[in-house]
């Protein structure tokens, strides 16, 4: 006890105050400990050891052997990696623009005060976002079944030829994109609705005084004021898009001809099918760098959001 060492008389009061002070210092750590330990063991530690592992050769059985930069040298020559990055980029680019356009369009229409059954309609749009991808992936696969699926039947009834869909390298990824859009609209619509609610009515009133029509109001008031929301949606969409896995695992297995061989699927194959953990970790670092870039971009932007 401090007071004791300094030679100050120790009264019962100062002992209990001292104890209380000490307790006060420990309390936050007691509250922090469980959560921080979990995050340390299952997020921070793996992040660091994953980075280290990318410099090793490891098959999960023999002890890891130092590999220097060889894994990274392989990355540069890996044509499958290039292919899978292009495939993933195709998916991300293909989903983002239609998702933003459609969810904004629906949010604008649903935002009208007179709209009937607003909550029910919003719930229906939101449904695809929350159900297990695994379950709906089968349903989509069956919808796009070349022989017995309804989509081909609609095509035939409209006078088109039957398509091979998931069996066709040029169509497999567009189907993944359709599913991605279907799944993302509801969530983003809710984000846009929140954004729209945040716009001060006085902007519209001012625009009306200036004689703006609905389209001009959208172009000069709504769209610019929604920019932070759009930015949030695009960034989250890009980050989420790079993580696509479930529907590929279920529907195409990366095929046909690697047309849907997205990056997470490639990492999964390398690590858990071929047991090349070191190289797979180097691949993870590539994914990490891409996602990190977009996240930092978002953080930086979020800091500036108060501009409006």
């Amino acid at each position: 006890m401090l007071e004791n060492r300094k030679g100050i008389a120790v009264t019962p009061v100062s002992i209990s105050r001292n104890k209380a002070l000490k307790m006060q210092r420990i309390v936050p750590w007691i509250f922090l400990a469980p959560g921080l330990i979990v995050i340390f063991v299952f997020v921070a530690l793996p992040a660091v050891s994953g980075m280290l592992l990318s410099f090793f050769k490891y098959d999960g059985i023999k002890p890891p052997s130092f590999f220097g930069l060889k894994n990274y040298a392989f990355l540069l020559e890996d044509t499958i990696l290039l292919k899978s990055l292009l495939v993933t980029l195709y998916y991300v680019a293909g989903t983002i623009v239609p998702t933003v356009a459609l969810s904004l369009f629906i949010a604008l229409l649903l935002n009208k005060a007179w709209f009937p059954l607003k909550n029910t309609v919003r719930a229906i749009y939101f449904l695809p976002t929350i159900v297990a991808m695994v379950a709906v992936a089968f349903v989509w696969k069956w919808l796009f079944n070349p022989q017995f699926g309804p989509v081909n039947e609609w095509l035939v009834s409209l006078g088109f030829k039957k398509l091979q869909f998931l069996g066709d390298p040029t169509l497999a990824m567009p189907i993944m994109i359709i599913i991605g859009i279907w799944r993302a609209i509801g969530f983003n619509m809710v984000v846009y609705l929140a954004g729209l609610q945040g716009i001060d009515r006085s902007y519209y009133e001012a625009a009306e005084i200036d004689g703006a029509n609905s389209f001009q109001k959208f172009l000069y008031v709504t769209w610019p004021l929604l920019r932070p929301t759009t930015f949030f949606i695009v960034t989250l969409g890009v980050i989420g898009g790079f993580q696509i896995f479930d529907q590929i695992y279920i529907m195409t297995g990366g095929g046909p001809a690697r047309a849907t061989y997205a990056i997470v699927f490639y990492i999964y194959q390398k690590a858990f099918k071929e047991l090349v953990f070191g190289y797979a970790s180097a691949l993870s670092m590539v994914l990490f760098l891409i996602i990190l870039t977009f996240t930092l971009f978002q953080y930086k932007y979020m800091g500036r959001r108060t501009d409006y």
């Binding site: 959560g35 050891s49 999960g60 939101f126 309804p150 797979a280």
Partner: protein, 281 residues
């Protein structure tokens, strides 16, 4: 134009808008309708041309059969057990840590919080290999521990709880402290009840995420008796138990229905939660 009064034009516009939105909503529902329609068909009727949307006869027994072809009691229990544990314990751990960050002064608080925030930038797909190796080292592969432990806290959850608690004045907690209440009593009897909206939103997000999770259980589970519902569906589709689209669709609805149920119960909190993270975050 002069034939129509303004209100007629307005009603016409509104009808068009409602029609467009309802058509879109119907499109969203097509996969669900197809799932239900297929799940009620006979095995033969699945392969008919033209495609039928209203099954005839309606085979309710498919749901019973789906339950019987594989050990669905077990998978449902696994999913429910893992999800409940993850939701309950992570809510506790996250709100505890969020409370500490929001309401206590302590050394290294700011750097620690920044460090925590920075872990949010690391998606699970990036760390899945080391997490798998760590679980293997701990002997937790193929156990409930392996499925549950990594989900027991999240930087995102702590962040949300901290943001929410920061907006709540300290007075109530200080008053209780002066009255001599212990720290845990303050936490459970004052802080937790105040956090109900944030806990509800976070709880629903965690539930949906854990219930639907596929990739992580795929790595951890190595035996049939530990499979969660999404894994069971995947094995079912790979033809492990039976080759039948109706049964597969019936099984798929086992995974979907609880989430839809929770969603309708907690829709308000989900919407509030998204608004909270999306805009105030």
């Amino acid at each position: 134009m002069s034939f129509f009064s303004g209100s007629v034009i307005r009603t016409g516009m509104r009808t068009v808008i409602v029609a467009v939105i309802l058509f879109g909503a119907f499109t969203m529902l097509v996969p669900f309708l197809w799932m239900v329609a297929t799940s009620l068909k006979t095995d033969q009727k699945v392969f008919t041309i033209p495609v039928t949307w209203i099954p005839d006869p309606i085979v309710w027994k498919n749901y019973l059969k789906a339950w019987e072809v594989a050990d669905f009691d077990r998978y449902l229990f696994n999913s429910a057990f893992v999800t409940t544990s993850v939701v309950a314990i992570s809510l506790l751990f996250n709100s505890m840590a969020g409370y500490a960050f929001a309401k206590f002064e302590f050394k290294w608080r700011e750097p620690l919080f920044l460090l925590l925030l920075s872990t949010m930038m690391i998606p699970g797909q990036v760390t899945m290999i080391p997490v798998y190796l760590i679980l293997k080292k701990l002997g937790f592969l193929g156990t409930y521990y392996g499925l549950i432990l990594p989900g027991l806290a999240s930087a995102f959850g702590i962040f949300i709880m901290r943001q929410f608690l920061q907006a709540i004045p300290k007075d109530l907690m200080e008053a209780a402290r002066i009255d001599g209440a212990g720290e845990f009593k303050i936490f459970f009897q004052i802080v937790i009840p105040l956090c109900k909206p944030a806990i509800s939103a976070l709880g629903i997000f965690t539930f949906v995420g854990s219930w639907n999770d596929f990739l992580f259980p795929l790595l951890v589970v190595d035996n049939d008796s530990l499979k969660t519902l999404p894994l069971a569906i995947a094995s079912l589709a790979a033809g492990q138990y039976v080759q039948s689209w109706p049964i597969l669709m019936a099984a798929a609805s086992f995974v979907t229905i609880p989430v839809i149920f929770v969603f309708f119960l907690g829709q308000r909190y989900i919407i509030e939660g998204i608004t909270m993270t999306g805009l105030k975050g």
